[in-house]
């Protein structure tokens, strides 16, 4: 059997939506992470934007941060890298909710 891969056909890079779509998120109505928009408007470093592996922090045109808690890995990166004391209020989601990695 020939398993060589044609040099010109490397894997297609998938979109972020497809990437995050490989995980299951059981979404609770309460946001387990709350971001203080006022604190973010005064922040020029924006560590969360590049570091969040789920890409949940999006800069807005008015200098703020748009945040969506729904597709969160619950890893803790955002509050660990954040330079603004109190800008990110971080808790775990309600029991049974949030990211679910599957058994095989």
């Amino acid at each position: 059997m020939d398993h060589r891969i044609d040099r010109d056909t490397t894997w297609p890079e998938i979109s972020f939506e497809e990437r995050i779509g490989t995980a299951e998120f059981r979404i609770h109505e309460r946001a387990h992470i709350v971001v203080d928009g006022d604190a973010c408007r005064g922040c020029s470093t924006r560590e969360c934007v590049v570091a969040c592996p789920a890409n949940l922090f999006v800069p807005t045109s008015d200098g703020g941060i748009l945040f969506n808690y729904e597709n969160c890995f619950e890893c803790g990166t955002c509050y660990l890298v954040c330079n603004k004391e109190g800008a990110i209020s971080w808790t775990y989601p309600e029991g049974g909710f949030g990211i679910v990695f599957h058994r095989t």
Binding site: M1, H3, I5, T10, W11, E13, I14, F16, E18, R19, I20, T22, A23, R26, T45, E47, C48, V50, A51, P53, A54, N55, F73, E74, C75, G76, T77, L80, V81, W90, T91, Y92, P93, E94, G95, G96, G98, I99, V100, F101, H102, R103, T104
Partner: protein
């Protein structure tokens, strides 16, 4: 408080490897144990790169290899050093590791952790899933006497709580056991699970049957301090990076872009080309070793596993689940002996610290206490990989009609080219020797 006011002798928070082993140890000693898990099943929140070294389980689950849900037995252990376009690999292979009693195995954490929690249930622990602990319960003197949960009337009381609630351990933080949280003590682990057929994996990685490969990588992380890894599962390959948080946050490449760069490296691409991403996942790792560890014991509570920062990131040794299982087991045993003495105070529970200090759990961390910082230092991360690969390149490059240069000359010239001062190289070598030697 009278014993009848308690819901259990021991409450274990988190049904990962630490929590399940704590529950097994306490339940086997005849104690009533509640094992709380915030996910819908044990293992549902858990993620790592992919290799577990379960030797310590010999004490709890004899012949664990006959029942543990592993993907492949690690028979090849490789360390790769990457420059921009080349690589040097040290590759060890032992077919012994493919036979009982084995050494390491690749395993999916939802499978492995679910199995281990099943052992805790078999030992008599009561596993309660879909329940998030929101904080410690304290008595009027500040001693921990249970936990608050997000269930209605969700307070649960026990003389001993074992916090196995993972790297973000809010229990340990709320109990004041961590002094400060420094982001540079943490890395982000990100991983893609790539689907292949088994034959492709076995051909590309030169293994057969249930044998597998563990590749640890220095370099290839877009200049962000950390490293990479590739592990073979039965019909998938896990590839990913660990990235030092402040360094990741201070540049412009996102984690998934850094994985894409690693996958495109000419030494890596032939291994992973064509793989379809079936899972993308992330988790934070406590990487700084001894220097970041919390106080492990307080009145009514013990801390184990990632919650206690018991993860070993020492370059050639990258271990966590075994430290979690061992510390959980010792915490369970210490809880039992404190309950026998009817003294769940920090003093009564102090047998836990003795067990950690007298075994590999803290002996390894003490011996290697300077290594995590060395491994993530700028020289090891950004200068030594190019130095090593260029030395090997010149050693094996046949540059006729020029005669071969001597090794000493190659090393001297390449060290200078890489901008490494002899003094620093010797000092790092000495730090390494003191840790590893």
């Amino acid at each position: 408080m009278a014993m009848s006011d308690f819901d259990a002798d021991v409450i274990v928070v988190g049904a990962g490897p630490a929590g399940s082993c704590a529950a097994i140890a306490a339940a086997r000693a005849g104690r009533s144990v509640i094992l709380l898990e915030r996910g819908p099943f044990a293992g549902s929140k858990n993620m790592y790169g992919g290799v577990v070294y379960p030797r310590i389980l010999d004490e709890l689950i004899p012949e664990w290899w006959t029942t543990a849900p592993v993907q492949r037995w690690v028979v090849r252990r490789s360390t790769m050093i990457l420059s921009e376009t080349s690589s040097v690999t040290i590759d060890y292979r032992s077919d012994d590791w493919g036979r009982p009693p084995h050494n390491g195995a690749t395993a999916y954490r939802p499978d492995f952790d679910h199995w281990l929690a099943g052992e805790a249930v078999a030992a008599g622990a009561r596993l309660v899933c879909s329940t998030t602990v929101t904080g410690p319960l304290r008595d009027e003197r500040g001693r921990v006497v249970g936990v608050r949960t997000d269930r209605p009337d969700g307070d649960l009381r026990a003389p001993v709580v074992i916090a196995c609630d993972g790297v973000n351990s809010f229990l340990a933080k709320e109990a004041g056991l961590y002094h400060a949280t420094d982001p540079s003590n943490f890395t982000l682990g990100v991983k893609e699970t790539l689907a292949f057929d088994r034959a492709t994996i076995e051909e590309r990685f030169n293994v057969r049957d249930d044998d597998g490969v563990d590749i640890e990588i220095l370099g290839g992380t877009a200049g962000v301090s950390g490293g990479g890894f590739i592990y073979t599962n039965r019909d998938t390959v896990s590839i990913g990076c660990v990235l030092k948080l402040p360094k990741l946050a201070a540049q412009s490449k996102r984690p998934e872009e850094i994985i894409a760069g690693l996958k495109a490296h000419p030494s890596i691409a032939p291994l992973v080309e064509g793989g379809r991403v079936i899972e993308y996942s992330a988790h934070v790792i406590p990487e700084a070793g001894l220097s970041m560890m919390p106080t492990m014991v307080t009145d009514g509570m013990l801390v184990a596993g990632d919650a206690a920062a018991l993860c070993l990131a020492a370059g050639i040794w990258l271990e966590g689940v075994n430290f979690a299982m061992a510390s959980g087991m010792y915490a369970g045993r210490a809880a039992v002996s404190a309950l026998e003495k009817n003294d769940p105070s920090a003093r009564g529970l102090s047998g836990y610290t003795d067990l950690l200090e007298s075994t590999f759990v803290l002996k390894d961390h003490r011996r290697l206490r300077r290594i995590p910082e060395l491994v993530l230092s700028d020289r090891v991360q950004h200068r030594y990989p190019a130095f090593v690969t260029s030395v090997v390149d010149r050693l094996f490059r046949v540059d006729n009609p020029r005669p071969k240069p001597g090794l000493r000359r190659i090393v001297r010239e390449e060290r200078k080219r890489a901008g490494i001062r002899l003094r620093d190289l010797l000092r790092d070598g000495w730090t390494g020797m003191r840790g590893f030697g």
